[in-house]
């Protein structure tokens, strides 16, 4: 056939040697193959490097957030006796201590005043006791005078008054004992009264000294309480700000992580590109080998059909195979059962 002869003339001369065009076609295909392979490798290397960088960026972001969380935790707590105490609770602890101290001051104040009242009452009673002793002494004085009069009268009565003399003498003796007892009572009363007055004076002096150093008017406690309230409010506000900042940082870190993962997934285009390029290279290699090994058969329909089948069978990616079928046969082999998922597709490498 003249047409076949013309095609054969492209690739072989009369002696069956390769024609210049055949060598050009072979050289072009092989060069394209090498360039495609180099490009694929280059893209793969760069994509892997980018993927590693993005992964490292994501890891760094997560580490940064963890460090920030740890730092926030460290600056908001203090260690005391092996326990971790939240700084925000410190003013509350101090306020509780302050309240306790204030309560004790009030209890002492109340007891002090109560004691003063009781001692004042006792002093009143002691005054009453003193008056009673005075009265006893006055009565005793009268009794003594009476006994003396009785002694005088009994002496005048002579023998008839001897018995009365004894009674009046006993009365005088009793009167002296009452005097002695009265003196002892007065002494005891004076001692007790002086002691009580000393205690009262001491309590008053203590109160005065406490008042002078400002421990009584509670103004220092009021100031401390107000300062603690301000401190507590500031700490609560700062804690809230830190929480918001930490939350923002965590959200940002999470968003960066999500975006980096999306980037890494998007970079899987490189894997598909590599598989497509490999399919093209495989097809071109088959054609190149055919041209190289069997230049005399380029016009043989059966041989060419076999070559087409070889090319189609060598392609695992279904969409690429479909394109080759359309290009080589004019239509895809839709009647054929759907090809099993290509191993290369199902094992797309995730970086």
């Amino acid at each position: 056939m003249p047409q076949h002869n013309r095609i054969e003339n492209w690739t072989t001369d009369a002696q069956g040697a390769r024609s210049p065009f055949s060598r050009l076609l072979l050289g072009t295909i092989e060069s394209a193959n090498r360039i495609l392979l180099d490009t694929t490798q280059d893209v793969e290397d760069q994509a892997r490097r980018l993927s590693d960088l993005f992964t490292s960026l994501n890891d760094g972001s997560e580490e940064q957030t963890q460090r920030l969380s740890k730092l926030v935790s460290q600056i908001t707590t203090v260690e005391h006796e092996g326990k971790s105490i939240d700084l925000i609770t410190l003013p509350q602890i101090l306020q509780a201590s302050l309240s306790e101290v204030t309560e004790r001051i009030l209890v002492l104040s109340k007891q002090g005043v109560s004691l003063i009242y009781s001692l004042d009452d006792i002093l009143c009673e002691m005054d009453g006791l003193g008056a009673c002793i005075n009265e006893i002494e006055a009565i005793n004085k009268q009794t003594r005078l009476l006994s003396l009069n009785a002694q005088i009268e009994s002496a005048r009565a002579g023998a008839a008054g001897a018995g009365f003399q004894i009674v009046s003498t006993e009365m005088h003796t009793l009167s002296k004992r009452i005097d002695a007892l009265s003196d002892r009572m007065r002494g005891s009363t004076r001692t007790v009264t002086e002691s009580i007055r000393e205690v009262v004076g001491s309590i008053r002096s203590e109160y005065r000294e406490l008042s002078e150093i400002g421990a009584m008017d509670l103004s220092k406690q009021i100031d401390a309480k107000e300062h603690l309230e301000v401190l507590l409010t500031s700490l609560v506000e700062r804690n809230a700000e830190i929480s918001v900042a930490l939350s923002d940082s965590t959200s940002t870190s999470r968003r960066i992580g999500d975006e980096v993962r999306e980037v890494v997934i998007a970079m899987q285009f490189q894997d598909r590109m590599r598989q497509r390029t490999e399919a093209v290279v495989t097809a071109l290699t088959a054609v190149s080998r055919f041209l190289s090994d069997h230049p005399e058969k380029i016009s043989d329909p059966e041989t060419c059909d076999g070559l087409v089948q070889t090319i189609v069978d060598s392609i695992s990616l279904s969409d690429v195979r479909r394109q080759f079928e359309i290009g080589l046969r004019g239509k895809p082999s839709d009647d054929a059962p759907a090809p099993a998922p290509a191993p290369a597709e199902s094992t797309i490498e995730l970086f």
Partner: protein
């Protein structure tokens, strides 16, 4: 410190003016006696004209409350403002007796 007591039906109102410190404990006995002697079942101590009280003053008010309780009477504080309010808040006296 000065005080005036005013019986209003079943209520005895004792208005304290000036400052209440330890030095006023003798005068404060008059208040304790007024509480004990009154037939009123409700005692109101008005601190509206009280400029200041120290811890002894709070102690005396607590004694007045004890005296009122002992006599089956109820004591309450009124007119609490300024420094007096701060001292009473610090003392948490509202946990012991009503404060208006």
């Amino acid at each position: 410190m000065d005080f005036k007591s005013d019986a209003r039906g079943d209520r005895l109102v004792i208005a304290i003016s000036g400052v209440i410190t330890f030095d006023d404990h003798n005068k404060f006995r008059g208040i304790l006696n007024a509480i004990a002697d009154s037939a009123a079942t409700t005692i109101e101590i008005s601190l509206a004209d009280t400029k200041m009280l120290d811890s002894a003053g709070v102690g005396m008010i607590l004694l007045a409350n004890d005296r009122a309780k002992k006599a089956d009477k109820t004591l309450r504080l009124s007119g609490v403002t300024g420094h007096v309010a701060k001292v009473l808040e610090l003392s948490r006296i509202a946990q012991i007796l009503p404060v208006d």
